[in-house]
């Protein structure tokens, strides 16, 4: 096991940040922690990267205990904190050189590992890190976290505040790194990114709601979801919420995801109800559940 977490709990003063968290990540796995802000993801990352000590429970990373062998872990993991944490007044190249040096290596030694990412930021290598765009910053931070060829990579919300194109590129990179045998633990508040992980844990208020492969998680969604659309989305949501049989109503892009409480639900009934509410162009179609739907259902 590359990462093993057993019954970890952590509280700050009166707030319980993590409650009895247990999970395992296999070697070479891309594991995602999916949850909203304040779910406890960062706390968990900090415990695993030896920055915090849990109140209860134990954890090992790359076979080392996070408390007793913290020095060994610090030698063998790569960590990219949620906040951009490189030296803004140093250039791209200087940052990379610095992190290579403190990990006792050089850029040349591990160039093959970062090459694909680095070529994208190389044109800006003399630019100060603080002057890079959000996507570039994250790529640089990833390079810095990778420069010493870590066994385990911890990425705390690496794509927050990054444009969709860069996000996609970023995840493609993660997939490639995974193929090189690096275990990756990544957290994200974006549900669409969850589908790209091997396994995910849905986390909220310091508790793991569910843990499985993304496919299994959506497959286990208990209800049939309908995509509902009408000429006035705002009014549509209000009307659906007023509908006495509704189970859940969530806006989802241009549609509204709707589930019904009845087992023998007939979309035609709903259609009639919505039309009676003066909505026109009403469209109701079956759809597959997404991770977001699962999350909303579990978080209810």
């Amino acid at each position: 096991m590359s990462i093993s977490v057993r019954h970890i709990s952590k509280s700050y003063k009166n707030v319980k940040a993590l409650e009895d968290i247990s999970f395992e990540v296999k070697e070479g796995e891309l594991f995602g922690l999916i949850g909203p802000d304040g779910a406890g993801k960062t706390t968990l990352f900090r415990i695993l990267t030896t920055l915090l000590i849990a109140n209860e429970g134990t954890a090992t990373v790359a076979g080392f205990d996070v408390v007793a062998d913290y020095k060994k872990i610090r030698n063998s993991v790569g960590y990219m904190p949620g906040k951009f944490s490189l030296y803004q007044d140093l250039t791209v190249e200087e940052n990379l050189n610095f992190f290579a040096t403190i990990f006792g290596t050089t850029i040349e030694q591990n160039y093959d590992l970062i090459k694909e990412i680095y070529v994208q930021i190389e044109p800006f290598k003399t630019r100060r890190a603080g002057k890079l765009s959000g996507g570039m910053k994250q790529k640089l931070a990833l390079c810095c976290a990778l420069i010493h060829k870590p066994k385990v990579l911890f990425l705390d919300e690496p794509t927050t505040g990054v444009d969709p194109v860069s996000r996609k590129e970023f995840w493609e990179m993660l997939k490639r790194l995974q193929q090189k045998g690096i275990t990756i633990l990544v957290s994200t508040p974006y549900m669409d990114e969850a589908a790209l992980c091997d396994r995910i844990a849905l986390i909220q208020d310091g508790k793991i709601l569910q843990m499985d492969t993304p496919q299994a998680i959506v497959k286990h969604y208990p209800k049939q979801i309908y995509n509902v659309r009408a000429n006035n989305t705002y009014q549509l949501i209000n009307s659906l919420k007023a509908y006495e049989y509704n189970h859940s109503v969530y806006p989802f892009g241009e549609f509204v995801h709707y589930t019904d409480r009845r087992a023998d639900f007939n979309p035609k009934d709903l259609m009639l109800f919505l039309e009676s509410k003066n909505l026109s162009n009403v469209e109701i179609k079956k759809t597959e559940a997404t991770i977001e739907d699962t999350f909303m259902e579990l978080a209810k």
């Binding site: 030896t50 920055l51 872990i73 944490s85 140093l90 040096t101 810095c144």
Partner: protein, 368 residues
């Protein structure tokens, strides 16, 4: 070692790229020394005084001439009535009134004794004190000249000798103080800020999750500032020697060594401050309030320690700056060596070791 050098290189990048801080770093010592040397001074120059001469004889005229000839005083007006003294002080222009008693000359010859009353405006007690000292000095000088030709046995002439600073040049007193302040400020504040900056920007998190050892981080942070502080110390000494003609009586080597010792103790204090503050602002406030004020007020730099109440005198003992000021005054003004300063040096060494041990112990290997 490579790690350590890499770290120091990075620190120098930080320092040299932050132009504003760099300017403060090197501009401040020069500005401060000029300020204390030229503007803020205990010396008096062309102080306006008034004369109330009840005798108007040859002797008083001679004394008045001597006083007005000195560059310290200029005579603003001659008065006739004792009652005007209060009104003239209320106007604020005149800082002192010299009141010669009646039949001054006659009394001096007959009784060998005559009185001048020196009335000073003590709203500024320091200036008042200085004025009275200066007038006294002129009178003593005059008395000496006057007595030269006459040989009367057993005549007692009051003599005040101003040792070490015969010209009462305040800049000689200020240079050690300014040097102490600058070294304290640069060393303690700059290191504490540079360490808390890493905390605030989150880079400390990455440094912690890396093989670099806490001691390497601390020494790496401190090293560039030792270097910069030494440059500052050299600038201050050179300025005071060449601009203010301040003598350095003792060994420059000893001065350099003692300065480095003090710099290290200030740096250790800086690290200590950084361990207890989470943001750069807190670090700055603690450095300013916790270090600068005691250094200015309790180190004997401006206010003599001997005239403080006992509790404050005791507190002043735990301020490294006090000992450093004693040491550099000793070296620069008195020219004494380590045989006279070993006690102060030892105290400073002890404090430095204590601060370093404490800050290494308090340095957090985790986030909380």
């Amino acid at each position: 070692m490579k790690r350590f050098i890499g770290f120091i290189k990075k620190e120098f990048y930080h320092i040299f790229r932050d132009r504003r801080s760099l300017f403060i770093l090197f501009g401040m010592p020069i500005a401060q020394i000029m300020l204390f040397g030229f503007a803020i001074t205990n010396e008096i120059n062309n102080v306006d005084i008034a004369i109330l001469d009840h005798s108007k004889d040859a002797t008083t005229e001679e004394i008045i001439n001597k006083i007005s000839a000195s560059k310290y005083f200029s005579i603003h007006q001659f008065m006739d009535r004792e009652a005007d003294v209060e009104t003239i002080f209320k106007k604020g222009k005149v800082k002192a009134v010299l009141n010669f008693e009646k039949d001054f000359s006659k009394k001096l010859i007959r009784d060998h004794k005559a009185t001048i009353q020196i009335i000073t405006d003590a709203t500024d007690p320091n200036t008042a004190n200085t004025i009275s000292n200066y007038v006294n000095a002129i009178l003593i000088q005059y008395q000496k000249d006057w007595n030269k030709d006459i040989t009367i046995a057993y005549q007692i002439i009051p003599r005040t000798r101003m040792v070490y600073n015969p010209e009462l040049k305040s800049v000689y007193m200020f240079v050690p103080g300014v040097m102490t302040i600058i070294l304290m400020l640069v060393s303690a504040m700059m290191t504490s800020i540079s360490i808390t900056k890493e905390k605030e920007l989150g880079t400390m998190e990455i440094l912690l999750v890396s093989p670099i050892k806490p001691i390497q981080v601390i020494v790496g942070k401190v090293f560039p500032y030792i270097f910069l502080s030494v440059i500052n110390a050299i600038v201050i000494v050179v300025l005071s020697i060449f601009i203010f003609k301040m003598p350095v009586q003792g060994s420059l080597f000893l001065l350099a060594m003692e300065s480095i010792l003090f710099i290290i103790s200030a740096l250790a204090l800086g690290i200590l401050i950084s361990t207890i503050s989470a943001t750069q602002q807190t670090a700055m406030m603690i450095s300013l309030m916790g270090l600068m004020l005691p250094v200015i007020l309790l180190s004997g730099f401006i206010f003599p320690i001997s005239s403080m109440p006992l509790p404050l005198q005791m507190i002043s003992n735990i301020i490294p700056a006090k000992w450093f000021i004693i040491i550099i005054k000793g070296i620069m003004l008195k020219g004494v060596g380590l045989q006279y300063l070993w006690k102060e040096t030892l105290i400073l060494v002890g404090m430095t070791i204590f601060f370093i041990a404490l800050s290494v112990k308090k340095y957090k290997i985790r986030l909380e």
